[in-house]
C-alpha cells in the first residue's frame, strides 16, 4: 500500500500530524490513519478555546467501522476548527493533509514539536505496520 505524506509536517506515533502555519499549528490525521479508518462519516470537533494536552484524546472521528479517538500531537488552545468537515467529513479521506485538516492550535510549548517524528522516521514506522 502506498501512502501520501507531507514533507513539512511532523508526526505522532498515533498517526496525527502537525504543521506550523505562521504562529499556529495545523493538526490532522495521516493518510495511513484515514485509510485504516475507512470512510469517515462524522467528526466530533472540539470547541474553539478547548485546551489540548499532548497525547490525550481531544476528539473522536467516526467511520463506517467504528469511533476512533484522535490524540493531541501537541499541547495548546484550539483557535479554529475545520467547519467544512461538518457537511463533508469525507474530506478527511480525500485530502488528509490539506482540506481534511481538523483544528488549528496555539502551541503552549513549541519545543514539543522536537519530540515528534520527522517524515523519514514516520515513513519508516508506517512501513513496519
Amino acid at each position: 500500500m502506498e501512502y501520501k505524506f507531507d514533507q513539512k509536517a511532523r508526526y505522532s506515533k498515533t498517526h496525527e500530524w502537525v504543521r506550523m502555519d505562521g504562529a499556529e499549528a495545523v493538526v490532522g490525521i495521516t493518510d495511513y490513519a484515514q485509510n485504516k479508518l475507512s470512510d469517515v462519516v462524522f467528526t466530533d470537533l472540539p470547541a474553539v478555546g478547548k485546551v489540548l494536552t499532548k497525547e490525550s484524546a481531544f476528539m473522536v472521528i467516526e467511520s463506517v467501522k467504528a469511533a476512533e479517538e484522535v490524540f493531541a500531537p501537541v499541547s495548546g488552545a484550539v483557535t479554529a476548527r475545520n467547519e467544512k468537515l461538518v457537511k463533508a467529513p469525507e474530506l478527511v479521506n480525500k485530502d488528509p493533509f490539506g482540506d481534511g485538516w481538523l483544528v488549528r492550535v496555539r502551541l503552549s510549548d513549541v519545543k514539543e514539536l522536537d519530540s515528534l517524528m520527522d517524515l523519514a522516521s514516520y515513513r519508516k514506522l508506517v512501513e513496519t505496520l
Partner: protein, 365 residues
C-alpha cells in the same frame, strides 16, 4: 474459513475481516460508501458464500419444515420463496432464514454465524422423520447480484429461461454460462436483484464473467460494509443485532413478514401466542438523530433522563444523508415522532422515532 473466491478478493486488494470465522472482504478499493451508492444506482456483486444452506428432501419434508419454522408454507407453491424464522420453545429467535421451494426439495438459507447451530438443531428435530438434510455449503458457491441493473446483467448469461418472467421472491433452476444454477430473486439490500447458488468449481469463472458483463452498466464488487449499510437502510434485521435468542419475532416487528399464528403447529407457537396476547413490554423501532452523531449497537436510549431502550444498529446513511438507527424501546416510547435521546459517549443526543424502512427503492417494478 475461506470462501471459494477468497484469492480473488485478496488479489483485488480487498480489505479482509473476520466475520463469524470467515475471512471476508469488508470493502474493496472504492470504499463502502461508493459501493453502497452503486448498488442503489446500478449494481453490486457480493460474495455471500459464507451463508449457510441446507437442502431438505424426502417424503416428510413439508411436515418437518412446518414443525421447525414459523411461516405456513403449505400453500407456498413450487418456484416461490419466503422469509421465515426458526424459534425455540420459548419463542426466542434461533435464526432468521429464507426458504425456497424447488421441484424436488426445499432450500433453506441461514446466517453464517448460525450454520452449525441450526444444522444440529434441525437434525435433532428431524429424528424419526423421513427427511434428509444436506449441507450444500461446500459443493456450491453463493453470490448476490443486487441493484436496478441486476436483471439486465444476468439476463444474457442465463440460458433456458428469462429472468423477466420471475417476480420477486421466486426461485428457478437454470444454466448460468453452462453451470447448473439455482437462481433466486431475493436479496438483503432493499434493491431488486438476485441471489444464486452455483457449482463450487465454477465460482471464479462465473464471478469474473458477471463482473465483466456488468462493468459497462456500472457493476462493482461490494463487501460486507456496504451489505450492512444497505440492509440497515432497508430495515432488514441482522442476527446478533435486531434479533437473537433473547428476542421474539413479535417485539422485533417480524410477525407480519415471517410468522403465521393462524395455521400450522410449529415449535415456539404457544410462547408466541402468549406474547401476541399481551401488550408488548418493548418493541423494535427506527429512529433518526436530530443532533449529528453515529448511533452504535449497545448505546442506551433515554427519555426524561432515564433509560428506556438500547440501540441495535446505527449508521450514517449514504442514500439519505441522515444519521439513522434501530433499537428496542419500552412500551410508550415507540410512537412515531416521539422524542428520545441516544447516549453517545456519555452525552445524550436528540433523536426521534421515525417510520421504517428508512429507504425504499424506486426501482421496484
Amino acid at each position: 474459513m475461506q470462501t471459494k473466491l477468497h484469492d480473488w478478493h485478496v488479489r483485488a486488494g480487498a480489505r479482509m475481516i473476520d466475520f463469524s470465522g470467515w475471512d471476508m472482504p469488508i470493502q474493496y478499493g472504492t470504499g463502502p460508501r461508493e459501493e453502497h451508492l452503486r448498488v442503489r444506482s446500478a449494481a453490486g456483486l457480493f460474495d455471500i458464500d459464507h451463508m449457510g444452506r441446507f437442502e431438505i428432501a424426502g417424503p416428510d419434508s413439508l411436515p418437518f419444515l412446518q414443525l421447525v419454522q414459523t411461516w405456513d408454507i403449505s400453500r407456498l407453491a413450487e418456484g416461490r420463496a419466503h422469509y421465515s424464522l426458526l424459534c425455540s420453545e420459548s419463542g426466542g429467535i434461533i435464526d432468521d432464514i429464507f426458504l425456497y421451494h424447488l421441484p424436488q426439495s426445499w432450500l433453506m438459507i441461514v446466517n453464517a454465524s448460525n450454520t452449525a447451530k441450526d444444522l444440529s438443531w434441525l437434525q435433532s428435530r428431524a429424528r424419526g422423520m423421513k427427511v434428509s438434510l444436506r449441507d450444500r455449503g461446500s459443493d456450491t458457491c453463493m453470490l448476490a447480484l443486487q441493484g436496478p441493473a441486476a436483471r439486465e446483467i444476468i439476463r444474457p448469461l442465463c440460458e433456458g429461461m428469462d429472468i423477466d418472467e420471475m417476480g420477486f421472491h421466486r426461485v428457478r433452476e437454470c444454466s448460468l454460462l453452462g453451470a447448473g444454477t439455482i437462481l433466486c430473486t431475493t436479496g438483503y439490500t432493499g434493491e431488486p436483484g438476485c441471489e444464486m447458488l452455483i457449482p463450487a468449481g465454477d465460482a471464479g469463472r462465473l464471478w469474473a464473467a458477471i463482473l465483466k458483463e456488468g462493468e459497462p452498466r456500472g457493476l462493482i464488487p461490494c463487501g460486507l460494509g456496504a451489505r450492512d449499510s444497505l440492509r440497515a437502510e432497508a430495515c432488514l434485521p441482522l442476527y446478533g443485532h435486531e434479533i437473537d435468542e433473547s428476542t421474539d419475532p413479535i417485539s422485533a416487528g417480524l410477525a407480519r413478514a415471517a410468522v403465521r399464528l393462524e395455521g400450522h403447529e410449529f415449535i415456539g407457537k404457544r410462547a408466541l401466542e402468549a406474547v401476541a396476547s399481551r401488550p408488548l413490554s418493548c418493541r423494535l423501532v427506527g429512529f433518526e438523530m436530530m443532533e449529528p452523531g453515529v448511533p452504535r449497537q449497545g448505546y442506551p436510549v433515554h427519555a426524561g433522563g432515564k433509560k428506556v431502550g438500547r440501540v441495535t444498529t446505527g449508521l450514517a446513511s449514504p442514500s439519505t444523508g441522515r444519521f439513522l438507527g434501530m433499537g428496542y424501546v419500552d412500551d410508550g416510547f415507540a410512537d412515531l415522532d416521539r422524542e428520545v435521546q441516544i447516549v453517545i459517549r456519555e452525552s445524550p443526543k436528540a433523536a426521534r422515532i421515525v417510520k421504517r424502512p428508512f429507504y425504499t427503492s424506486p426501482h421496484w417494478r
